[in-house]
């Protein structure tokens, strides 16, 4: 059976599964719609959190980013996992005890203020929309690559699927589809990785193969460690050593901290812990979530190192006409581009970009063919020796072909990529719709609407959110790609400190919390906007505050938030008695069931 047919079969089969789950798990009440009735097992919630958390970027791009950045990419590995430790110890159990539906719910109640609630709603919507636009685009791209449909058609198909289970099932439908999506995506990620590991090192586990000796083409042990070999070959080409960083230590420190605290502060992650039955479950559920995430996150750096080694050894200095088929296939889809600067018919790799930007081709391979059959590139060459452009996404997408794996593995990777993008998009859309229907409508504007009306409003808000997200997916504003990474910095500078102090510092009052959030958010936002949009030419270490890049500035914003909040709360009145009782109550687990009565 050919790849195309198998891909349709796998992706179509997974869609049928998701829709089946959606019909089975329809939401009948607001509690089911917002928090899946609060009855999700910690194991299922862990898998759903993992799928919610790992987006198309984690699935497709991360291993490639690591492959090209080496040690520098450690910020993502530590930052996007270490946040779960904070979540398990500092936030999730107490928010579960609090027992409401959303993050603005907690902020509004704890700080006895609709201003604080509204600020939180605005942050939730802003952070979630920047994030979800990238996801819808991701759905479209995965479709386009594997199913040969237009990117926009892909976005519309993705919208229709999410529409079905998010609007019908709410959190309940999303949770159980996310569990299924996790299974699909982790299987799709691990299978090629295991094959690649066996091929390169003879180890079944990529995590140990990563630190093992390399096998030669005949399968004999060369006695050289993979990472030593990789360090050697990248340095021979003029790059820095793979296991050494190029970023300054302070910047790595601040970026990691921003990603960790941002992870712990992201509303679509926090809200998942409202769905488990008890406080005890919330703690261990964070452990399950990290376990499921770690399966992918400890495999990805191994895949990165395998793929980089393999790519260089296969391609560098090879005659173009002798290259394996996958090279031509990805050149056809524009993800690889070769510009034979010295006209020797061989592909040379070197540090630096071969030309500016992504390759523009003069025409298809048939229309514009170079001397040895390559596609003709019209970009202006740079004056270094580098001749080849490789899109980082190839590191995951091409693995099955590089490892000569059967066609069904390629189809599986397609289904995995779609699952990763859809699960994250659905989680974000739910957070947006509940922020609108619950926090804005029910809690602020129209407190006396019935539950039925609120549920209808939640469904309508989900519909509107999907349409807006789809619009951004089809017409991506230029800033989306730039901004997604900053969602973490903004979450770290706004939600994380306010929630943390709301639990651990009884004396924190509304004045302190609002001032802290406003300062942290405004500072981080302005710093990012300045260096990314107003004066991008100034975006170098020399101009950064304390040498911290815009990616890491969320940590500084968070520290400012803490300081401002503490100072302001000291000089203003303490929170009222009943608020202090709420804080005392969320600190002890007993009675978690009762807190649900609204």
């Amino acid at each position: 059976m050919d790849v195309q047919f198998l891909t349709y079969l796998f992706v179509g089969g997974s869609f049928a599964l998701y829709i089946g789950i959606a019909i089975w798990s329809r939401a009948g009440s607001t509690k089911e719609f917002y928090v899946a009735g609060g009855g999700v097992s910690p194991l299922a919630n862990g898998a759903a959190t993992a799928a919610d958390w790992m987006s198309a970027a984690s699935f497709i791009s991360m291993a490639g980013i690591i492959a090209f950045a080496g040690y520098d990419a450690s910020v993502y590995l530590m930052g996007w996992t270490g946040g779960y430790v904070l979540l398990a110890m500092l936030l999730a159990p107490y928010l579960r005890k609090f027992g409401k539906f959303t993050v603005p719910d907690f902020i509004g109640d704890r700080y006895y203020s609709n201003v604080a609630r509204t600020v939180a709603v605005i942050c939730v919507i802003f952070v979630s929309f920047t994030y979800v636009a990238g996801q819808m685009r991701g759905v479209g791209i995965v479709f386009a690559r594997f199913l040969e449909v237009d990117v926009n058609t892909g976005v519309v198909i993705g919208m229709a699927i999410v529409f079905f289970y998010a609007v019908l099932g709410g959190m309940k439908g999303i949770t159980y589809t996310q569990v299924a999506q996790y299974c699909v995506l982790i299987f799709a990620f691990l299978v090629p990785a295991v094959f690649l590991s066996i091929m390169m090192t003879g180890h079944v586990l990529p995590q140990t193969g990563f630190g093992a000796t390399v096998l030669d083409a005949a399968g004999n042990d060369t006695g050289v460690y993979l990472l030593d070999r990789l360090d050697q070959i990248v340095q021979d080409l003029g790059f820095g050593a793979y296991t050494d960083g190029s970023k300054s230590t302070i910047d790595v420190f601040f970026i990691t901290a921003a990603l960790m605290c941002g992870t712990a502060g992201l509303p679509h992650v926090i809200v998942r812990f409202f769905t488990v039955p008890t406080v005890r479950d919330a703690r261990i559920s964070a452990g399950w979530a990290l376990f499921f995430i770690a399966l992918l996150y400890t495999t990805a750096p191994a895949v990165g190192a395998f793929a980089r080694t393999n790519l260089i050894e296969t391609v560098n200095n090879a005659e173009y006409q002798q290259l394996p088929d996958w090279f031509y296939n990805w050149e056809n889809s524009g993800l690889i581009g070769w510009l034979d600067k010295n006209n020797d018919g061989r592909v040379q790799m070197a540090a630096g970009d071969p030309f500016k930007g992504a390759p523009t081709f003069a025409g298809s391979r048939e229309e514009a063919t170079g001397p040895v059959g390559q596609r003709v590139i019209t970009n202006t060459p740079t004056d270094n020796g580098s001749e080849i452009y490789v899109d980082r996404d190839i590191m995951v997408l091409a693995n099955p072909e590089i490892g000569n794996l059967p066609a069904w593995v390629i189809a599986l990777v397609a289904a995995g990529g779609v699952a990763a993008a859809l699960s994250t998009a659905a989680g974000l859309l739910l957070v947006i719709s509940s922020a609108v229907s619950h926090d804005l409508l029910k809690k602020t504007l129209k407190p006396n609407i019935s539950e039925k009306q609120e549920l209808l409003a939640a469904r309508l808000a989900a519909v509107v959110a999907i349409i807006i997200a789809g619009y951004f997916g089809i017409n991506p504003p230029g800033f989306v790609a730039q901004v997604v990474a900053f969602a973490f910095g903004l979450a770290a500078a706004s939600f994380f400190p306010v929630i943390l102090m709301g639990i651990f510092y009884k004396r924190m009052n509304k004045e302190g919390a609002i001032a802290g959030m406003a300062v942290g958010l405004a500072f981080t936002f302005c710093y990012i906007v300045y260096f990314k949009f107003v004066a991008p030419e100034m975006n170098t270490a020399a101009h950064w505050l304390f040498g911290v890049s815009p990616e890491g500035i969320g940590t500084v914003g968070m520290i400012l938030n803490f300081i401002v909040a503490l100072v302001v709360s000291r000089v203003t009145a303490p929170p009222p008695e009943h608020i202090q009782h709420i804080v005392e109550d969320i600190r002890v687990p007993r009675g978690s069931g009762a807190a649900h009565a609204h």
Partner: protein, 85 residues
């Protein structure tokens, strides 16, 4: 009395959190970032140790920390009689 018990429970919890967060900080920010260059002189199987902590070791330790915290808290909940029914 009940209030005192709740206060003691909370103090024990905060102490537990702080001790686990020290480990959390040391493996990631310590071994993986601040001390990475020094640790890279040590070979750990085929890895430089600092690099291993940054890309593998810290994640394993995070996982162990969460599981240990969840278990310690279950014990603490019972000891102070604040566990859920």
């Amino acid at each position: 009395m009940r209030e005192e018990n709740a206060r003691a429970y909370w103090a024990a919890n905060v102490k537990l959190i702080l001790s686990y967060l020290v480990v959390w900080f040391v493996v990631s920010y310590g071994c993986g970032i601040l001390l990475a260059d020094a640790l890279n002189n040590i070979q750990f199987f085929g890895f430089k140790l600092g690099f291993w902590f940054a890309q593998q070791g810290s994640i394993y330790v995070f996982l162990v920390l969460i599981v240990m915290y969840a278990r310690s808290m279950n014990k603490l909940d019972r000891k102070f009689d604040v566990h859920e029914e």
